[in-house]
């Protein structure tokens, strides 16, 4: 199933990879379509090209090929040595995820709600952090609603949506937004799958995300993270009807959560959201 996701659209990918990237100025960056690289730009003035690296969005850090390889390998090693280092996990995901992000972006474009998300680019951040989430309002929602479950999750672990790092190593701004959206959806995936943030919960969510997004960071994280489980967790993970089976089943059957417009559906009951996205109820093996 993973290989289906990764290789199914290889034909389209090959044509994309073969098309040359010409230097983009910030003025015409947003109007470029993927693949439309030979469009004639009458306003192009070579004297006005900016010197140095072209930053296509705030916090963008352009990397050249050698730097990308160096960071990918280095952050991969650092992720294994120190999995609590979120900046290394972010860096690993961003440097290795371009291909998968393209596929994901195309899937979003194919879906109506996903296209709306790509057009409006909503951010899951608190109002103080520049987004639209009002945590107090979410806490006041009825028990069993999506927003209330999310607020409870954040309160239980002391998290805030503002803790997410901003994407910086992805060159295309739209792909950078897709990566940023994926990162902000992660907590909501926890809520939808009913998993906590202990190792086992994280591995289950990583498997789910690996199937949904195909990001190498998720795939390697799911594989290698499961090696670090404690014995009791491993039993619950591997048993018949256990978490691994649940993760694999749900991951392959469910609709893409990145296409769900969470910001408009906080009031929906969680069970209905799960039904709509074809996510099974999580097994209770405690």
């Amino acid at each position: 199933l993973l290989s289906r996701r990764l290789f199914a659209q290889s034909g389209r990918l090959l044509s994309l990879a073969a098309s040359q990237r010409r230097p983009m100025t910030s003025s015409n960056a947003s109007s470029q379509e993927p693949g439309d690289t030979l469009a004639i730009d009458d306003d192009f003035d070579p004297d006005l090209l900016p010197l140095g690296d072209i930053r296509r969005y705030p916090n963008h850090r352009p990397l050249d090929c050698g730097q990308r390889v160096f960071l990918a390998v280095g952050s991969g090693v650092a992720c294994l040595a120190a999995p609590w280092r979120d900046d290394m996990i972010s860096a690993f995901g961003e440097t290795t995820g371009e291909w998968a992000l393209r596929l994901l972006r195309d899937d979003m474009l194919a879906n109506e709600e996903g296209r709306r998300i790509l057009a409006e680019r909503p951010r899951i951040r608190t109002v103080e952090g520049g987004g639209s989430i009002d945590l107090e309002a979410l806490r006041r929602l009825p028990e069993g609603s999506l927003g209330r479950a999310y607020a409870d999750f954040l309160d239980r672990y002391g998290y805030s949506p503002d803790h997410r790092r901003t994407v910086c190593f992805v060159d295309d701004p739209e792909l950078a937004y897709v990566m940023q959206r994926y990162r902000e959806i992660h907590d909501l995936n926890h809520v939808l799958l009913g998993q906590g943030t202990d190792f086992l919960g994280e591995v289950v969510v990583k498997w789910f995300e690996a199937f949904q997004t195909g990001l190498p960071m998720c795939v390697t994280g799911a594989f290698l993270g499961s090696l670090r489980l404690r014995p009791k967790q491993t039993r619950r993970y591997l048993q018949e009807g256990g978490y691994l089976a649940y993760a694999l089943r749900t991951g392959s059957d469910a609709d893409l959560t990145i296409n769900y417009y969470f910001e408009r559906n906080w009031h929906q009951p969680l069970a209905e959201v799960r039904q709509q996205l074809r996510i099974e109820e999580p097994p209770n093996l405690k």
């Binding site: 705030p58 040595a81 999995p83 803790h163 940023q180 994280g221």
Partner: protein, 326 residues
């Protein structure tokens, strides 16, 4: 051959930063504290205003202090130790000298200066004379301490170093290193918080002024040089180790590529901070040419100004003397 200690330190650095509160957090982990100069801007919204240059230096050095030494080793492939040893040798502190080491937070130079002055030939410790009859270990130890203290007071065995640094976290690392080396080292170093433009020291109080890899972080170079001239005694020596403009064109190309392409990602991997190391390599480029800096030293009042470029040509030692005012 890379020593095991350095590998262990490197692993400790990679696994240390940035700290999070939840202990078992795998996958997309959280962090509780926003690093300064980090990922604070909203995607697609307004950009963060760049901070003031003066505050930037402190902001740069406080978070990187723990991994500073490891990053120095990685960035220079261990060469910085050779440069610092050559610097200490050329500064040549004698026992009894009062040395001021500016921007010497982690104490590399201070400890090197102490070791150099202790190991100068002709400084054998005096033999300990104990009264006969009482052969216990405690009485011998007490007698030894008393006699060494007396010998120290009369003819000191090493110089004394006052380290001035604007970053307290760097000095914490340094004082930990000094205590690990022994009480004799720790007691000969004084850690003062302050900036190079206004040193917390009296006029004409030091025999030697050293600054290693700190001059590029100073905003007012003539001010720093005037202050150095002020605190030095007549015939006191000024020594500055700093990165310089590379003359060799091939080396210059390799050096630029390495500085701008390799060092910031390495900083992200080891110290968790890309911006600080990008700032460091940019501050090296902004530093004046070695001949221009030598002229600035002459304008500040130093005589017999000279500079010596160290192998492979990326850093040099500037030295000058303060002559007594006529």
């Amino acid at each position: 051959f890379i020593p095991k200690m350095q590998c262990r330190q490197l692993l400790r650095c990679i696994s240390r930063s940035p700290a999070t509160s939840s202990s078992s957090c795998f996958g997309v982990a959280r962090r509780q504290v926003h690093q300064p100069g980090g990922f604070d801007t909203s995607f697609g919204f307004e950009e963060v205003e760049p901070g003031q240059k003066q505050d930037r230096v402190n902001q740069v050095f406080n978070p990187v202090s723990n991994s500073y030494d490891v990053m120095n080793d990685l960035m220079s492939a261990g060469l910085h130790r050779c440069w610092k040893r050559r610097f200490v040798a050329s500064a040549n502190p004698r026992p009894g000298w009062r040395v001021v080491d500016v921007a010497g937070g982690t104490g590399d130079i201070a400890l090197g200066l102490l070791e150099w002055s202790r190991k100068l030939p002709g400084r054998a410790p005096p033999p300990v004379r104990v009264a006969p009859g009482d052969g216990s270990v405690d009485s011998f130890r007490e007698a030894a301490e008393r006699q060494t203290a007396a010998a120290e007071a009369e003819a000191p065995a090493s110089c004394t170093v006052s380290v001035v640094d604007p970053s307290p976290s760097m000095m914490q690392v340094g004082s930990a290193k000094a205590s690990a080396k022994g009480s004799t080292f720790a007691s000969s170093i004084q850690w003062l918080e302050g900036r190079a433009e206004s040193l917390p020291l009296d006029e004409a109080s030091s025999d030697l002024y050293t600054i290693a890899f700190g001059m590029r972080n100073c905003t007012d170079l003539p001010g720093v040089l005037r202050e150095a001239h002020r605190v030095l005694k007549p015939y006191g020596r000024f020594a500055c180790l700093e990165f310089c403009s590379v003359e060799n064109p091939l080396l210059s190309i390799l050096y630029d590529e390495y500085s701008f392409r390799v060092i910031p990602p390495m900083g992200l991997l080891v110290a968790g901070d890309w911006d600080s190391y990008e700032y460091l390599v940019e501050s090296i480029r902004r530093f004046p040419h070695q001949t221009l800096f030598a002229n600035m030293m002459r304008e500040a009042g130093f005589s017999a100004v000279n500079y010596e470029v160290l192998w492979p040509g990326v850093c040099c030692i500037h030295s000058g003397y303060k002559l007594p005012s006529v």
